[in-house]
């Protein structure tokens, strides 16, 4: 082993940053843990709000669809009633015409 290597080992001896450093690291880690905990609680709140929003959105869209179908049903019923009414009128006219022809004979 050369003296240069000995001198390098001496130059690069480890140095302890002291007990204040330990305390700072442990405090920072505790702070990070609190932040993580807060984050997880906040995350839970956000997740709940998101789920609620999804439920409302799906419920709203189903309700809208149901109303649309109902409106279309009502419209179809009105059209059918009108068509039957026209057909009835036409049949009455035809019957009156036939009766008039029979009376003329």
């Amino acid at each position: 082993m050369s003296r240069l290597e000995d001198a390098l080992r001496e130059a690069f001896r480890t140095e302890d940053p002291g007990p204040q450093f330990t305390a700072r690291v442990l405090a920072a880690a505790a702070g990070a843990r609190r932040k993580e905990h807060w984050w997880s609680v906040a995350g839970l709140r956000w997740a709940t709000a998101g789920a609620l929003a999804c439920v409302l959105l799906i419920g709203g869209s189903l309700e809208y669809r149901r109303e649309q179908e109902e409106r279309q049903g009502r419209l179809a019923k009105q059209q059918l009633v009108l068509a039957l009414h026209i057909a009835g009128t036409k049949l009455n006219l035809a019957r009156d015409r036939v009766q008039q022809l029979n009376a003329g004979d």
């Binding site: 082993m1 050369s2 003296r3 240069l4 290597e5 001198a7 390098l8 080992r9 001496e10 130059a11 690069f12 001896r13 480890t14 140095e15 302890d16 940053p17 002291g18 204040q20 450093f21 330990t22 700072r24 690291v25 442990l26 920072a28 880690a29 990070a32 843990r33």
Partner: protein, 189 residues
Amino acid sequence: MAAASNAVMGNEPLPDFASLVKAHQAMVFSIALHYVRDRSAAEELAQDVFLQLHQSLADMQSGEHAARWLRKVAVHRSIDHARRSRFRPQVGLEDAPEPATPAAPGDPMLSERLRRLVASLPEKPRAVMLLRYQEDLDPEEIAATLAMPVRTVKSHLQRSLTMLREKASRAFTPAAGRQNLSREMGEVE
């Protein structure tokens, strides 16, 4: 500190976070300090490394695993920091806090000169030298830490030592008023 480090280094179950910090803070801080050569930056960097360990604690299998992980992360973070600070103004010496522990015994001027010479090396050889002479790792362990071939580690070590011998021989001549260390530095094992 060494005894505590040995106890934590074993393959026994993972110690708690506080024990890991106490056992390895000297190693992590010294890697950062010797690499970036700025005490406050080294403290900040070492703290970040431990906070990263705190987040990854669930992945640690043993004390030895945590020590290897800390060494690796400390070196890579130091390299990243040195890269970034190349483009940033440095903090003046007057702003640097006082050392927490007294300076190491020995020849402080020679040690400082060697640290400066090693600091002038490119990033990978600098990391190799640090792991070799601070952490006393053999080339295989250094290769595993830095994810490079063993042959490259040996080559970095050889070239860096040659360069240091040359530079040291120029710096410590009798004309400079110091003992002629050049011959001593040239002694090969």
